[in-house]
């Protein structure tokens, strides 16, 4: 089999289509949510909406990840809280701070930025992969989680896991020839791009809207949640 031809397809036309589906799909989802309609909120403003939104972001991004014990979810299940956090951290580092991925961003956006040194990205990726396995096991054994996990949840895990694992294998030149690993990685990435708008992985975008809206609501009522 000529893997280079498969690789060219995965890096070429398939990637282009997947990216278009990703963009169009997220725009669709966003519009649907924005037009869900808003209930009248007749409360008299007691505080600033903008301030509330800002506080909400700061807490979500700066405080909870670093002093997690203030949160209930942490004290109830610290392992899972940490695994979830490390998984997101690793994912972020790999996607946005890895030298090879920055080259991809550069070709898409026209500009790049400095990368994190490879060994650090590498460790974060390994940690993220282990964290994903822990999260998978947790979903498998936790009775409540099991109850609310449909096929989409399992597919979410799978579709993120394969690009992560294949990327790690590729970066370390393990098992198969480089072009084979590269092909698998790119095919998996393309599939993930198409899957994201259809799934709850789109929370990477909606998270920021949700924080802003809830923050504004709290801000208006002058409550600090």
């Amino acid at each position: 089999m000529n893997w280079l031809a498969i690789l060219d397809f995965a890096r070429g036309p398939f990637f282009e289509v997947a990216l278009l589906v990703f963009i169009g799909g997220l725009a669709y989802r966003l519009m649907r949510i924005l037009l869900l309609g808003w209930h009248f909120d007749r409360i008299k403003p007691a505080g600033s909406k903008l301030g509330g939104a800002l506080i909400s972001y700061l807490r979500g991004i700066l405080i909870w990840p670093f002093i997690p014990w203030v949160r209930n979810t942490f004290s109830k299940n610290p392992v899972i809280y940490i695994a979830g956090g490390l998984f997101h951290l690793g994912l972020f580092a790999v996607i946005f701070l890895d030298a090879a991925h920055i080259l991809a961003w550069q070709s898409l956006l026209g500009f790049g930025w400095p990368s994190l040194v490879t060994p650090i990205v590498d460790w974060l990726a390994a940690i993220a992969i282990v964290a994903m396995i822990l999260l998978f096991i947790n979903r498998l054994v936790n009775p409540v989680l099991k109850l609310i996990s449909g096929p989409a949840e399992w597919l979410n895990l799978l579709f993120v896991f394969i690009p992560m694992l294949s990327g790690y294998i590729m970066a370390h030149h393990l098992f198969f020839a480089y072009e084979v690993n590269f092909s698998i990685h790119m095919l998996a990435v393309d599939i993930l791009l198409i899957w994201i708008p259809l799934s709850r992985i789109s929370h990477f975008m909606f998270y920021f809207f949700a924080r802003a809206i809830h923050g504004a609501d709290f801000g208006k009522r002058a409550v600090i949640p």
């Binding site: 000529n2 280079l4 799909g25 030298a99």
Partner: protein
Amino acid sequence: MKAGTIYDELARGGISRREFMKICGLLAGALGLTSVPPVDVNAAYDALRKPDGLVNLVAEALQTKPRLPVIWLEFQDCAGCTEALTRSHDPTLVNLVLNTIDIEYHETLFAAAGAQAEAAKEAAIKKYAGQYVLVVEGSISPGSGQIYCTIGGRGSGDLLQEAAANAFAVVATGNCATFGGLPRANPDPTGAVGVMDLVTDKPVINVPGCPAIPEVFTGTLFHLLVFGAPPELDSLKRPMPFYANTIHDRCLRRPYYEAGLFADSFDDDGARKGYCLYKLGCKGPTTYNSCATIKWMEGLSFPIQAGHPCLGCSEPNFWDGGGFYQGQSAPLLRPAAALAAGAGAVGLVLGAGMATANQAQKKRAHPTEQHKE
């Protein structure tokens, strides 16, 4: 000892027995053998097991076989492969091998021209039927009535088939003859193809590169001479002794790659320190060839050693497989900004349409409920 063997000719040229054995030793190296080839010659296996086995095998071949007749055709090419071969100076391995072959027809090297040359080729095809190796340099344009590449008024496709019909094996040299090369690059006006797309009933050996490494090419020819059969080939018909590893596998900059130390431009500090050229577009990780080990100019250097990223010239689609200076992790195709914006707009419109339809349905179901739009 048969008359007319290569050894006879060498001896006539004043080469002593001792010198002959030395030459055999050098030539054994030209085979580039990393393992015993899968040729079902028991004698070969025995010979290889003995100390100096390969040397003896070579000596035996040279003492029993006449020079290998070669017919060399050039189609849509730049003669770079020929150029690379003829630029190697005496006394190199390449040159030694060239002494063991007999080039019966070669457009660039031939003194004869026109009808004379064509007649010589026809005579050679007849005389050495079933014995000669056909070497092809350049891509073939078999479509469009074969108008794009003609020699003596005949199309490249016909010329190839005619010469291949009587050959004992066909060696395609350079990326053009193997995978279509530069002529096949988008928009491929001539419909260029490689030899293996057209010749299916003969052993075809691909020796890609731009140009092919002279030692790899002659090593392959010499293998045909000594063993009478092609070396083990990979899935793209490339000889395994020379194409089993990627450039990246044997690259002298590899430790920097592993450490994540990259040159960001051709004249930055990283470039001066010899860091990995991945970010500058190196295709070494997916390119199978011997540049990093055999190197060029008699082992002097090769592009990556000299500071230039690998272009991937021994792989199919090498002109269209991503920009030469674009990192390999970048996508090959990306939607134009307008297309991406279009996709976003389609999504927004569809979303808005769907949301409006839903709201209308909701209002019909609960006419009294108030909504702020």
